[in-house]
Each structure stands twice: as structure tokens, then as C-alpha cells.
């Protein structure tokens, strides 16, 4: 690396770090240009250090006045757990590029159901807010496994006209999956223009299957494996309506009823072995070596 070629030595400062649970954390990153440019539905590619990998993260919020981009991350693999350990307030990301992808379509929708499953609550929030600002009637449906994992419920509710929270075990809100919440909303309103569902692929597939008989236009935000995120590597290819599309430049939003979710889920497993390998190695490296036992021969 040529030192004289890197102008900003300490970019992408973490100005806020909040932990929602043992595994979920929020990073508010200073990047005024990106905050100005960001729209709901877009994502960034992040590298936490020079030897790190580029990972795509959907933008959970942006604040043009503060000049910040907010990301909500779940610590699952090596990279996201290392970020959880290292990225405290005042720390810096090595690289953050974006906003990437085509912004979500907000205009012309009068009534919308915004569905967030688990971590997906974060990226669907700016869409709910944008719909609200555009004058739409917004029904929020968010779901978590249990009460302890809940985050942003007040923030989300503040941009909704109606709000439903679900949990798998019934410890908060109604007991059941987000599809239960969608069912309540669709039975109450027969004039819903659009459903937006963001969350794990299995949850998005369930939402898609659920809304199909209602004939409601449904949009999902896909987050497949990517390297560059700029339309070059083709790693993020997904099958939509039988065609190969690139989530990074053609998406990430797609018509849910046309997405081949089996294909998406199979491709997400591509590096499972390597992901485990690198995580095991990291965990071993993290373990504090046991203090050597004092051997006092002869004593």
C-alpha cells in the first residue's frame, strides 16, 4: 500500500455503539457524504481492518444532520464477532463504501405493511419512516424469537399508524411468526398496496408464500454473499423470475413472488466450512492462555 495515496488517515469513526443483546449491536458511523446520499433500502460494504473481508450490511438509519450512517449487526461469524469486540465508540472502520444498490421504491404507495424479522427490523425501519413521510398509511409488523432480543420497538412504532409485535414464544406481543401479524393486518385492510419484508431468508420466503394468495405486491431485500458489491464479481447472483440478477446492482429489493428462495438459501451456504474454520481459529486465538502452573520441584 502506498502511504501517500491514502488521504484520510482516520475515516469512518464509530460515534455511537449500543448493544441490544449479547449478539446484536448498533454502530453509528460518521460519514457525512454518505449520510447525505443514502436512501432507504440501500446497503454498505464494510471492512473492519486491512486483513478483513468485505461484508454487506443494510443501512439501518441515516442522519443527514449528524452526518452518520447507522448499522445494526448480529455477531454470528468471525468478522461480526471481532467487530463486536473491537468497534467501541471512537474506533474506526478500515473501509466503508456505499450507499449501494437501488433505493427502495417509496412513491405512490398509499397503504403498506413493513415487516421486520429479527435483525431485519433495522433495515426496514428507514423504509417505514420514508413511507410515513410520503404520506402513506404504515402498518408495522416486527417479530423476534423472544422478549430479550427486541430492539427499536418504540422507534419503529413512532413511524407507524398501526403496529404489531410478535414473538415466537409469546413473551412479548402476539405469539407466533410475523406471518401471524401480516394475517391480522391483511384481514383488517383489503386495500394494502405493498408488503415489504426484511429478515432471514426463511422468514422472507414465509412472508412471500403467505401474501401470494392475497395477490399483494410483496418486496424483499436480499443479502447474498458479495465480494465487491459494485457489480463486478457476480457472487451475489440470484434467480428472479428465472433470470440471473445481481443483488448488488439490480437489487437488493426484488419482487418476492418471483424470487427463487431455495437457490438463495443454497448459495448462502457456500462458505459454511470456511466460516466455521475461521471462527474456530479466532476463538482459539481469543482464549486467554492458562497461567503456567508454578512448578516447584523439590519443594
Amino acid at each position: 500500500m502506498v502511504a501517500e495515496v491514502v488521504p484520510n488517515a482516520v475515516p469512518y469513526e464509530i460515534v455511537t455503539r449500543t448493544d441490544f443483546s449479547d449478539v446484536t449491536y448498533l454502530l453509528e458511523v460518521l460519514e457525512p457524504d454518505m449520510a447525505k446520499a443514502a436512501h432507504p433500502g440501500q446497503f454498505v460494504m464494510v471492512m473492519s481492518h486491512a486483513e478483513g473481508e468485505r461484508i454487506p450490511l443494510t443501512i439501518a438509519d441515516f442522519d443527514r444532520e449528524r452526518g452518520t450512517i447507522t448499522l445494526v449487526v448480529q455477531a454470528i461469524g468471525k468478522t461480526t464477532r471481532e467487530m463486536q469486540r473491537d468497534l467501541i465508540q471512537g474506533a474506526h472502520l478500515y473501509a466503508m463504501v456505499g450507499p449501494m444498490g437501488i433505493p427502495s421504491h417509496i412513491e405512490g404507495v398509499k397503504k403498506v405493511i413493513c415487516v421486520g424479522g429479527g435483525l431485519g427490523v433495522a433495515p426496514v425501519y428507514p423504509q417505514a419512516r420514508a413511507f410515513k413521510e410520503a404520506g402513506a398509511y404504515v402498518i408495522g409488523v416486527i417479530g423476534f424469537r423472544n422478549k430479550d432480543l427486541v430492539f427499536w420497538e418504540d422507534k419503529f412504532e413512532s413511524v407507524c399508524d398501526e403496529f404489531i409485535i410478535c414473538s415466537d414464544d409469546g413473551s412479548v406481543g402476539i405469539k407466533g411468526l410475523v406471518t401471524e401479524g401480516i394475517k391480522i393486518a391483511l384481514e383488517k385492510h383489503d386495500d394494502v398496496d405493498e408488503v415489504i419484508a426484511i429478515g432471514p431468508p426463511i422468514m422472507m420466503r414465509a412472508c412471500s408464500q403467505f401474501t401470494q394468495p392475497y395477490g399483494v405486491h410483496t418486496v424483499v431485500s436480499l443479502n447474498p454473499i458479495m465480494v465487491d458489491g459494485t457489480g463486478m464479481c457476480g457472487g451475489c447472483r440470484v434467480k428472479v423470475d428465472g433470470r440471473t440478477r445481481f443483488a448488488c446492482v439490480d437489487g437488493p429489493d426484488f419482487d418476492a413472488h418471483k424470487v427463487d428462495f431455495d437457490d438463495l438459501m443454497a448459495r448462502l451456504k457456500r462458505f459454511r466450512e470456511q466460516e466455521k474454520q475461521v471462527l474456530d481459529r479466532w476463538e482459539q486465538g481469543c482464549r486467554i492462555p492458562e497461567a503456567p502452573t508454578m512448578s516447584t520441584p523439590g519443594a
Binding site: M1, V2, E4, V5, V6, P7, P11, D33, M34, A37, Q42, M47, A50, E51, G52, E53, R54, K78, T79, Y94, A95, M96, V97, G98, P99, M100, G101, I102, V227, D228, T230, G231, M232, C233, G234, G235, R237, K239, T244, F246, V249, D250, D263, A266, R267, K269, R270, F271, E273, Q274, E275, Q277, V278, R281
Partner: protein
């Protein structure tokens, strides 16, 4: 002056270049070709006839004064040779390595009509490497002006345009979407062909001209081209965003784990250092039996990289024949030496699933050559009943790219029906003040062609900005005094030597 050279008096055989032996180099990432030693370079320089025709200059996409720099090598004035080269080319150490010389300068060399042509590429590389080793840098006297130029993409076209505009006195900012500069030189071409330190050294030279680089900036999405011209105060913009989305064949099995584009494979290895996994976090997932579809330079890179990463068997699968393969001759030759298996006239029909979502092989058919098609190459036609299975666990697509859609999505630039940017002969686009060149205009081409495009665009940009064009080609000495009637010292790139 020595008496005139003839084809009979020059050294008859092309001076060999030291290379790592195939068995060893196929397992490491060190550079394959070791370059000329000083004596070898001087000997090879003697093979140039200095013919009055100078067909090599016309054969070069940027019109390097080839006999001029070779003569300087003959005089052992290596710095002089470097000055002649840098009159026209920005990156001699790179172009000497990656240009397809056999179809350019060397392909039309007069010596080549009777003997092996002069090894122009090797000589260029020799001078470029010496300049890096000695720290030579052709930094001209630059008279600054207030004009600001934005360059989108830090690959060869952007770099060439940036350097020319910086020499003309403009404040130049290069925007790069990746975390490191260089474009295809960084993410695409592997280290055994173009070491990263050579890329670093050549980029540092551009930085020394006063060019600012801004990484992690995805133009179109972070800000638009239109915003660059209005809000951000750029007087002109060059678009050199390079190759686009990889082409797949839309055959069965392309979603299987183990099917990747060459772009993905090479980016993981070169830019993200996946070959050091798990010390670097980016995984690779390469198997033991690798089939690469295609036979261009990118395919050769993918093949040879796979071999070096420990694959037992590496196969090139191409639907046409050896003669039609678009790769640079030296790369094909090196790949053959290293033990790549070539399956010519073989067309994949489907990628086969092992039952667990991984690749177990490819269903292929044999082809034969029919009548010439639009490209002038004989069209491959299937041989009836010739289907067979080729065993492999990784399939790499290296059959080209489509245009990247981002700038089309985010600007009013006129595009061709295939999504490339429309540009006229001087590379001006449909937006006033915006120029474009390289792969985003022409589709996939070579490093030197992209560099040439960057310089053509720079010349047009200078006219657009009302700057005197002191370049393209930088005038040869005998015509220097007549260029616009200006003495050299009145022009804005009078050369001063440093170091």
C-alpha cells in the same frame, strides 16, 4: 557512428529472458518472468535495425517512440530510455509485462519478417523496472491552474488521464470504489504476472504529480456525475470504470456451490488476499479439480492461479480451437508449460450436482469449426452425439463481462443498447465536460488500449478546458520547436530530472 546494421549483422536469436522453471513456479506466486539483466537488454537492443519505416510505433496503441528508447538502451543511457518511454506511456513496468506485444509492436517489427522480432516488451519492462529500482520519476515542471478534474476509477485509463491532466496543471482527484487503487491491475491481474509492488510504484508516480486519490468512493451512488460538475466544482470528469458484471451461460447448475466468475476468484485472491486464508478473512473455496470456461487472458489468469493454490488438475474448456484463443501468446505458452490441461473445441452444456449442492462435473459436447462468423473466426458447431462428462469440483466462468449498470442508473449519460457509454472519437460523452474511455466504452480490452483511451480523453479534455495540449504524442525533439510555435520551456511540461 557504427556502420549501418543489416538483418545479417544483428544478433540473430532473440535474447532469452530468465523465467522460473514451470514445475516450481506452478506452486508459487512469485513472478514467472524475471526480466532482462543489463547485458541481455543491451544485446537485445542491438537487434533493432532502426529501420526508417518504424512500423512498431504505428503498432503501439499509444505510439511509443520504440526505436528511440531502444537506441538509448544501446547507448547505455537508461535514464534517457526512460525519458523517451515516459514521453508517451505512463506505466512502462506494467505495459512491458501485460501488453499483447505479438499483435502490436512486435507483430509488425521489420526484424520479425525474417527472424524473431525484437523483444520490445521485455526491453520496455527492463527500463520500467530500472526506473522503479532507481527511484526515477519523470516529474515535469507543472504550472498550476485553477481547473479541477475528477476521474472515476483508478485503473489504467483513469490513471493515464489523471497523469496527463495533472501535468497540464489541473487539480486532479481520482475516485476509487475499492479500498486500494489500481483497478484491474490490482484486483484482476495476479501477482505472478504483475507484482503488487510494481502497481504500487507506478501509482506512487501518479500521486507524485499531485493527483489526489479517494478510496471507497462509489461514484453514481455516493454522488452523481452531474453533482461533480455542479455542487462539487469539477470542471471536467473522466469515466474509466472498467469491466462490468460477469457473463454466465444460463445453463443448468450455475447456482451450485463451486461455480464462480473469474472476476470473483481473482478479486478474492488478488484484492482480498484470500490465498492467505485464514490469516486474511476472505475465503476462497477452491476445489481440487478446476475447470475454467474461456481462453482469454482472464481465463489464463484463473487457470494459473488455481494451479498455484494447489489444485491437482486444472482444465481450460473452450468451444473454439487453440488458434482462436484470444489470450496473449506468452500467457498461453506459460499455461501450457505449467501443465494446464486444454480441452479445445469443448462446449459446456450443464454443470452437474453431486446431490449436496456442490459441483461434481460438467456435461460437455465436442465442437468442430465451421464457416467464419462475424468476428472472422471460424464458428464452432456441435458434433452430434458427442456429449460426455468432464469431472471437476470447481467451475470458473471467464467468458467476458457486460457493462456495469451503476452510472447508467444514476446519470443521464447516453448508453448503447448493450449499456456501454456512448463516446465520440475524442471520447466526449453526451454530457458536456464528461469524457469516458476504456472497457466501459469499448467492452473488454487491454491495459494499453485503456491507457491510450485515457490519454485521448485527456487531450480532448484539455481542448474543452481551453488548455494548450502539450501532449499526445509529446512532440519528438526535431519537431519540438514548431509545436504551436512555442519553445519547449514555454510549454507546461518541460521535463526536469529528479534523482
Amino acid at each position: 557512428m557504427a556502420k549501418k546494421k543489416t538483418i545479417r549483422t544483428i544478433p540473430q536469436d532473440r535474447t532469452p529472458m530468465q523465467e522460473q522453471v514451470p514445475e516450481i513456479r506452478a506452486r508459487n506466486f512469485a513472478e514467472v518472468s524475471l526480466g532482462y539483466e543489463l547485458a541481455a537488454a543491451v544485446r537485445e537492443s542491438e537487434r533493432c535495425l532502426m529501420c526508417p519505416d518504424e512500423p512498431c510505433i504505428r503498432g503501439c496503441p499509444v505510439g511509443i517512440n520504440i526505436p528511440g528508447f531502444i537506441a538509448k538502451i544501446g547507448e547505455k543511457d537508461f535514464h534517457g530510455a526512460y525519458d523517451v518511454l515516459t514521453d508517451t506511456t505512463l506505466l512502462p513496468a506494467i505495459c512491458g509485462r501485460v501488453c499483447p506485444q505479438e499483435t502490436q509492436c512486435e507483430g509488425v517489427c521489420t526484424v520479425g519478417e525474417s527472424l524473431e522480432s525484437v523483444a520490445i516488451g521485455r526491453l520496455e519492462r527492463f527500463v520500467g523496472d530500472m526506473a522503479i529500482a532507481e527511484g526515477w520519476s519523470a516529474v515535469p515542471y507543472i504550472e498550476p491552474n485553477e481547473l479541477r478534474v475528477g476521474i472515476i476509477g483508478s485503473g489504467p485509463s483513469g490513471m493515464a488521464c489523471a497523469a496527463d491532466m495533472a501535468k497540464a496543471g489541473c487539480k486532479v482527484t481520482v475516485f476509487e470504489a475499492f479500498q486500494q487503487p489500481g483497478g484491474v491491475l490490482r484486483y484482476g491481474i495476479p501477482e505472478f504476472r504483475l507484482p503488487n509492488e510494481v502497481v504500487d510504484a507506478e501509482i506512487a508516480k501518479v500521486a507524485r504529480l499531485g493527483v489526489t486519490f479517494r478510496m471507497n468512493a462509489l461514484v453514481g451512488r455516493l454522488f452523481t456525475i452531474e453533482q461533480m460538475l455542479t455542487d462539487m466544482g469539477f470542471d471536467a470528469v473522466f469515466v474509466g470504470t472498467g469491466a462490468g458484471t460477469p457473463v454466465f451461460m444460463d445453463i443448468a447448475g450455475e447456482s451450485l456451490s463451486g461455480v464462480v466468475s473469474a472476476n470473483e476468484l481473482l478479486t478474492r485472491i488478488n484484492l482480498m488476499q484470500a490465498r492467505d486464508f485464514p490469516a486474511h478473512d476472505t475465503p476462497l473455496g477452491l476445489g481440487k479439480k478446476v475447470a475454467v470456461i474461456g481462453a482469454g487472458n482472464t481465463a489464463m489468469d484463473a487457470l494459473r492461479v488455481s494451479l498455484r493454490l494447489g489444485a491437482d488438475k486444472v482444465m481450460c474448456v473452450y468451444r473454439r480451437g487453440h488458434e482462436e484463443a484470444p489470450a496473449r501468446a506468452e500467457e498461453l505458452h506459460h499455461a501450457e508449460q505449467e501443465g494446464i490441461e486444454f480441452h479445445w473445441l469443448t462446449n459446456p452444456l450443464a454443470i452437474l450436482d453431486d446431490g449436496n449442492g456442490n459441483v461434481r462435473g460438467m456435461l460437455c459436447q465436442r465442437m468442430e469449426l465451421g464457416e467464419p462468423d462475424k468476428s472472422g473466426r471460424r464458428r464452432p458447431v456441435p458434433v452430434e452425439g458427442s456429449d460426455f462428462e468432464l469431472e471437476c469440483d470447481t467451475v470458473v466462468y471467464a467468458i467476458g463481462t457486460n457493462a456495469n449498470p451503476i452510472l447508467g442508473q444514476t446519470s443521464s449519460l447516453a448508453l448503447t443498447d448493450r449499456g456501454y457509454i456512448v463516446a465520440n472519437d475524442s471520447l466526449a460523452t453526451s454530457i458536456d465536460g464528461v469524457f469516458a474511455g476504456g472497457d466501459i466504452v469499448t467492452g473488454a480490452a487491454t491495459v494499453i488500449e485503456a491507457m491510450g483511451a485515457g490519454r485521448t480523453a485527456a487531450a480532448a479534455m484539455k481542448r474543452y478546458l481551453g488548455l494548450r495540449d502539450s501532449t499526445l504524442p509529446y512532440a519528438p525533439a526535431e519537431r519540438a520547436s514548431s509545436l504551436f510555435g512555442l519553445a519547449p520551456e514555454q510549454r507546461n511540461f518541460v521535463r526536469v530530472q529528479v534523482a
